[in-house]
């Protein structure tokens, strides 16, 4: 018992030392608690190592003990997972809706196109029948009314706020995961872009988004060779969205930020 108390005291001292040390190093409180928790975990481990032996069981007692053990494991794992910060799916739902809108419409458009093609074929058949009836001398054939195309006038989407669309695309495509902009995001995976507008034109930026191998940024030669920037946006984004993103990025001309130069490769 004395040994156990000694270990607990040591564990608490180590925990307190970690707490004070991390506070001095300006770790946020959540990290201090985390390190303290590790000290407690270590204490528990060392207590368990020298714990007295467990008496053997069998039969119903062993069965009951195993069941209780499983219940404890289930509760601990579910509770443990629930204690971590939880991602809110609502944040993503709106994004996904926007991202897939074009594809969903495209897939519905595909169905509509198929219907139109069928209507056109029927129209042709009806015209041919009318011609045959006319040739047979039957003027009684009703005039064939053209079924026409989809009937809907070509949609002319309002120009909208291009810069707003560009900023939306930055968020939707999660460009911030690799590029820092306005002091936010980026983990040095890609260049900081606050001065990109001074270095590249809108067309250059668009080309880079659509074909990442078209421009190589200084200091990111390894990333360029490995093709780190995904070559997928030409398939995932609509042309108008790429243009909007490029226009929005080209407005960033903060010369105080050292955005590296890019060299044209294609």
């Amino acid at each position: 018992m004395g040994k156990a108390i000694f270990k607990i005291i040591i564990g608490l001292l180590v925990g307190a030392g970690l707490w004070v040390g991390t506070m001095a190093l300006e770790f946020p409180p959540v990290f201090r608690w985390m390190f303290f928790a590790y000290a407690i975990l270590g204490t528990v481990v060392f207590l368990v190592l020298d714990a007295p032996s467990m008496k053997p069981m069998n039969g119903a007692k062993a069965f009951g003990a195993v069941l209780v053990f499983y219940v404890i494991l289930c509760v601990v794992y579910i509770a443990g997972a629930s204690l971590w910060p939880q991602y809110d799916p609502e944040d993503e739902k709106g994004k996904i809706e926007k991202l897939l809108k074009a594809k969903r419409e495209a897939s519905e458009q595909g169905k509509a196109d198929e219907l139109i093609a069928r209507v056109k074929a029927l129209d042709e058949q009806a015209k041919a029948l009318a011609e045959r009836i006319k040739a047979l001398g039957g003027d009684l054939a009703p005039p064939v009314q053209g079924t026409g195309g989809p009937g809907a006038p070509a949609s002319t989407a309002a120009a909208g706020d291009m810069l707003k669309i560009g900023e939306d695309q930055w968020q939707l495509q999660e460009c911030y995961n690799c590029h820092k902009l306005k002091g936010e995001g980026g983990k040095k995976r890609g260049p900081e872009l606050d001065n990109i507008g001074s270095l590249m034109s809108m067309d250059d930026i668009k080309q880079k988004i659509l074909d990442p191998k078209s421009w190589m940024t200084e200091g990111f030669e390894k990333e360029f060779e490995k093709g780190k920037m995904p070559d997928k946006y030409k398939d995932l984004m609509e042309d108008k969205d790429v243009v909007a993103l490029a226009v929005w990025l080209s407005t960033f001309k903060n010369t105080s930020v050292n955005t590296p130069k890019s060299i044209k490769k294609k």
């Binding site: 190093l25 062993a62 499983y70 997972a81 991602y87 944040d91 996904i96 991202l99």
Partner: protein
């Protein structure tokens, strides 16, 4: 279970599988809506259950045949008994694999008919010809292997072992084949400068199978299955140890638990690196997958993984600790002081080396290999030694430290978009959240475990093992290891599937349903736990009906015939 119910279950599985493939050809079938769970979770449950059963029936035969071979070579009947008992459970679970496999296809077709048809059409040869043929072949060989066990003894044992090797060969090919469509969904074939959809039109079946993550997934699953099989064998031993009061039986099941744990841990040592290889290929395929995994929506899933891995390593080393305690003469075992020195310095040195020479730069090996091998190379020249007990305790300390490094996040937020200074690691300490530090943590856990097994080996060569006298709590450790390993497998399986984001097949086939978002870790944990409990219930039942039934109670002498009417 008798052969006929097993055969019936297998038959139902096959019918479901083939029926599913035929149903897939019916055009325009409307999707169903699963109540309460929703369609995606329904698919998740059935798929995960199928994978758990499949993992066992593919992993267990690997060490079964090795155990049988060891028994034959050492003429030690315990190995043969272990192999046969695990095979008995495998045969039962084989039927469950077929059944859940068929169910999986049906649920998938009912919920996502368009996508399923699309996938089957792309892998028609795999789903309609190769996979069923392999499954039939495996069924035939598994049942022949099991039912010839007692007949093919003595001179015929080599033939039986060869059959076991054939079983493993077919099992491994089956795994590799089905990993084709699975990995394709994560990393479909693509070519530079051409859209995936266009590339797919001209791609051959081999192109589709041999995608970025096919081989990493094969290796990861193969090693994972052995770990899984080893820990389940340990759990079988724990159940049987608890259910018997005979010293002889306890001695045997104590031994079996040790061997199961040894195999489980032996394979587990490779798993972090196999997982790393898979992640590396995923990130290489599309760099945006990496932040999604590690820094964004799934980052807390990896925190939970770190916690689980830490617990598994703590438990497996605790089991070694208890195994050592029942060795008479263990107190005499000592080891060079270099071993604990390397243990303590490894996280720091490795983080520094891997930061300067990132993987796969061979220069990192030039620094790290001499360090890791120094206890073996230079240990004999240094006269200072430390007791086994002290080294193991230092090892436990380093497991806690290693896990602390593994679990230190860049920020306590579920997504990078919500990162604020109060929840972020100070910039000077950001290296703790980067891959070199994580690799060093993983390697520390592995190194400590290897050293502990080396000490154990020395202990058994210098002392005497008293089988059956292990601390009873060790049986709970074996159960804990099996449960936790399977739970972690469920967690990482969910991560692999979620990496497709809002696509059924990444960047190719969008999931237009309302369920195509990233679920919370808590929600996932509920289902992972539920699935693990269902799996454990079935496995426990299988162990009970096969092994308990095969241990008849003590023979009760028949009473002398008593004449009718006698008083």
């Amino acid at each position: 279970m008798k052969p006929w119910p097993r055969s019936l279950l297998t038959l139902i599985g096959f019918l479901a599988l083939f029926g599913g493939a035929a149903y897939a050809q019916v055009p325009g079938a409307p999707p169903v809506e699963f109540p309460y769970t929703g369609n995606r979770t329904a698919v998740w449950i059935v798929a995960q259950l199928h994978i758990l059963f499949a993992a066992f029936i593919l992993g267990a035969p690997i060490f079964v045949v090795i155990s049988e071979w060891l028994g034959y070579r050492k003429q030690d009947p315990r190995y043969d008994r272990l192999a046969k008992e695990v095979t008995k459970v495998t045969v039962i679970l084989y039927s469950m694999t077929a059944l859940t496999g068929g169910l999986f296809i049906f649920v998938l077709l009912a919920t996502y008919p368009q996508f399923t048809t699309w996938l089957i059409n792309h892998f028609f040869m795999v789903f309609a010809v190769i996979y069923p043929l392999l499954f039939i072949g495996e069924t035939f060989v598994l049942y022949t292997y099991f039912y010839t066990w007692d007949d093919w003894k003595g001179n015929k044992k080599a033939r039986h072992i060869a059959l076991g090797v054939l079983l493993n060969l077919i099992g491994t090919i089956t795994l590799f084949v089905i990993d084709g469509p699975t990995s394709f969904m994560n990393t479909p074939v693509k070519g530079e400068g051409i859209s995936p959809a266009e590339f797919l039109e001209t791609a051959t079946l081999w192109d589709k199978i041999y995608n970025y993550t096919w081989m990493p997934l094969n290796v990861h699953r193969l090693v994972g299955n052995v770990t899984f099989g080893g820990f389940i064998a340990g759990m079988i031993a724990a159940y049987m140890y608890m259910s018997t009061t005979k010293d002889e039986e306890r001695s045997y099941y104590d031994w079996m638990g040790f061997v199961g744990n040894l195999i489980g841990v032996g394979a587990l040592l490779f798993l972090p690196f196999m997982g790393y290889l898979l992640s590396y290929e995923l990130c290489d395929y599309d760099a945006s997958i990496c932040p999604y995994m590690m820094a964004d929506q799934l980052s807390m899933f990896f925190e939970m993984q770190g916690a689980m891995i830490g617990l598994i390593f703590l438990a497996s080393n605790y089991y070694i600790w208890m195994s050592m305690k029942r060795i008479q003469g263990v107190e005499k075992v000592r080891m060079t002081i270099l071993a604990p020195i390397v243990m303590v310095t490894l996280p720091v040195v490795m983080t520094k080396v891997m930061t300067d020479y990132p993987v796969p730069d061979p220069m990192s090996l030039a620094f790290l290999l001499p360090m890791l091998l120094s206890p073996v190379i230079f240990g004999r020249f240094i006269p200072i030694t430390v007791s086994a007990r002290t080294i193991i305790k230092v090892g436990f300390l380093m497991i806690v430290v290693g896990d602390a490094i593994w679990m230190t996040p860049h920020g306590f937020v579920p997504t990078g978009a919500k990162l604020v200074a109060e929840l972020e690691l100070p910039s000077d300490w950001n290296f703790l959240a980067l891959m070199p530090a994580k690799n060093s943590a993983a390697f520390t856990l592995v190194f400590v475990t290897v050293v502990n097994y080396v000490i154990y080996n020395r202990a058994i060569s210098q002392g005497t093992i008293v089988w059956g006298r292990i601390d009873f709590v060790s049986q709970f450790v074996l159960i804990f290891l099996a449960f936790s390993a399977i739970w972690t497998m469920g967690l990482m399986g969910a991560v692999r599937s979620l990496l497709r984001k809002y696509f059924h097949t990444y960047n190719l086939m969008p999931d237009f349903t309302a369920e195509s978002f990233t679920p919370t870790l808590s929600y996932s944990a509920w289902w992972i736990t539920g699935i693990t409990v269902v799996f454990f219930s079935v496995v426990s039942f299988a162990i009970f009906v096969t092994l308990r039934a095969s241990h008849p109670k003590d023979h009760v002498p028949e009473g002398s015939p008593v004449p009718a009417g006698a008083k």
